[in-house]
């Protein structure tokens, strides 16, 4: 008889990462439970956009990991029952000026050499993407394999299927204490549970879970704002981001106004299946203060209007904020923890949680099952921060 309050593997956190882990672990036939303090997808995963992108990733490990995630997501579309607004139309980056255009050209060459499907776009290509674009955009680039999903519907869909594979789900169970003797004891506001292995997939809240086992996890909340535009006319078919914020990766200076740089604002415009559109983005370290900051929203609006001046009479119906789990080297921690055998961390994806959720779920399942992993997990190790082998 299976015990409702015991499992081989307990996953803490019902965001997109925890849900993906639950899916792969349950599918592998391992007895597992998911423990979530609120509702499914009630934190960062319902306060973000829905990009599964390579277009903004460094060539090499980062882009390889995203590509693996894209391939897994395409497979999931066949195995999951509940639709999650999966759209595979690629995505584009737009340049603000000729200096960016020059670097974009290099970027496309590097990505093509790595075997990824990138293409440079000129002024007239950009015009064809959307009639709302500014006339002075010099061009941009495209990544053909990028896709969009609805993150919270994806969570619901993963859990729906995971339950069929045997997952036990405990929501509104906030973890108050985790201790380990022979097995882990997890005390929550909605019952106590035992498990042989624990996966900490609590995102920005992962450090709190780590602390309960004296494990320091170097993740900080990085706040991001999003505006939702109402259904009016179709603006564009696929996701747009600006190239500008990649300039830093090339150690070149980004040319933008002081407010834009101060609030870490970069254009993201995502058309949603509901025919609304999302406008981002901002990046700020302000602790867990979730209030919408009007100065940031205004800066984002101005940035959007620089690229889409003809959207000035489109209505914004909602604004919200979410906390991205930031790490020093911008890679997630997907790792066993040597100090506490049986304890795993899968957190710290910052703005890539949607992009990397499926590969994260698959890797954790492979680590738990003792299989060879789909991609190398060396750069994702927890102890990289202590060994000072963080690649910046």
């Amino acid at each position: 008889m299976t015990n409702k309050n015991h499992a081989e593997v307990a996953i803490i956190g019902g965001g997109i990462v925890g849900c993906a882990i639950a899916y792969y672990v349950a599918k592998a036939g391992i007895d597992c439970m998911l423990i979530e303090k609120g509702d499914l997808a009630s934190g960062t995963s319902s306060r973000c956009d829905g990009n599964i992108t390579i277009v903004d990733k460094d060539p090499g490990f980062d882009s390889l990991m995203s590509l693996a995630s894209q391939e897994l997501t395409a497979e999931l579309e066949k195995d999951l029952y509940l639709p999650f607004e999966y759209r595979t139309q690629g995505s584009i980056l737009v340049c603000d000026n000729d200096a960016e255009m020059e670097v974009a050209n290099e970027w496309v060459n590097i990505q093509n050499q790595a075997g990824l499907k990138f293409k440079l776009l000129d002024h007239s290509d950009i015009r064809q993407e959307s009639p709302y674009f500014a006339d002075d955009i010099p061009g941009g680039l495209e990544c053909e394999t990028d896709s969009l999903i609805n993150p919270y519907l994806f969570c619901y869909s993963l859990i729906d299927r995971a339950k069929e594979y045997g997952l036990k789900l405990h929501t509104r169970a906030e973890v108050k204490q985790v201790s380990k003797k022979e097995e882990f004891l997890i005390e929550t506001t909605n019952g106590s549970f035992t498990a042989k292995k624990v996966v900490n997939a609590a995102g920005v809240w992962a450090p709190f879970i780590g602390k309960m086992l004296d494990i320091e996890i170097p993740i900080k909340p990085r706040k991001g704002h999003i505006m939702v535009g109402g259904r009016q006319k179709p603006i564009i078919m696929r996701n747009v981001m600006e190239f500008g914020y990649l300039m830093n990766k090339f150690q070149r200076e980004r040319i933008a106004d002081p407010e834009t740089l101060k609030h870490g604002v970069a254009l993201v415009l995502e058309p949603t299946e509901s025919q609304n559109f999302l406008i981002g983005s901002s990046r700020q370290f302000v602790g867990f203060d979730a209030r919408v900051d009007f100065n940031v929203v205004q800066t984002m609006a101005r940035r959007a209007l620089r690229f889409f001046p003809k959207l000035d009479d489109f209505n914004i119906i909602r604004t919200y904020t979410g906390f991205r789990p930031w790490t020093e080297d911008h890679l997630p921690i997907i790792s066993a923890v040597e100090e506490v055998p049986g304890f795993y961390i899968a957190a710290g994806h910052e703005g890539d949680g949607i992009s990397l959720a499926t590969i994260t779920g698959k890797l954790i399942e492979e680590m738990i099952s003792g299989k060879e992993t789909t991609i190398s997990i060396e750069p994702l190790r927890y102890d990289r921060f202590k060994r000072k082998v963080v690649h910046m």
């Binding site: 609120g38 519907l153 259904r231 609006a301 209007l305 009479d313 119906i317 919200y320």
Partner: protein, 89 residues
């Protein structure tokens, strides 16, 4: 009885909301995300009281753990141009 529309912006009817509540035993926030009721142009200003009333009816009582529907700015839709205007203050 004819179809009763609860959320006019997203065209969500009573039956779909009740069925989702029964299937998932979830909070009103999750009902909103699963059905889009209250996520439209009016920001839920029209249907929020009705949604909360349905939750109470189906669950039989006020849920002590329920996650209430929040209200997000702006209070009413406002154009992107107006938000971006300089000298707003």
């Amino acid at each position: 009885m004819d179809r009763i529309v609860i959320c006019r912006c997203e065209e969500v009817d009573l039956e779909e909301i009740e069925q989702t509540l029964i299937n998932y035993q979830c909070s009103m926030r999750e009902i909103k995300l699963r059905t889009r009721a209250g996520m439209g142009y009016c920001g839920g200003r029209t249907c929020r009281p009705a949604l909360n009333a349905i939750l109470e009816k189906v669950s039989g009582e006020k849920q002590p753990h329920q996650i209430p529907l929040k209200v997000q700015p702006p209070v009413r839709p406002v154009s992107l141009g107006r938000i971006g205007e300089t000298n707003y203050e």
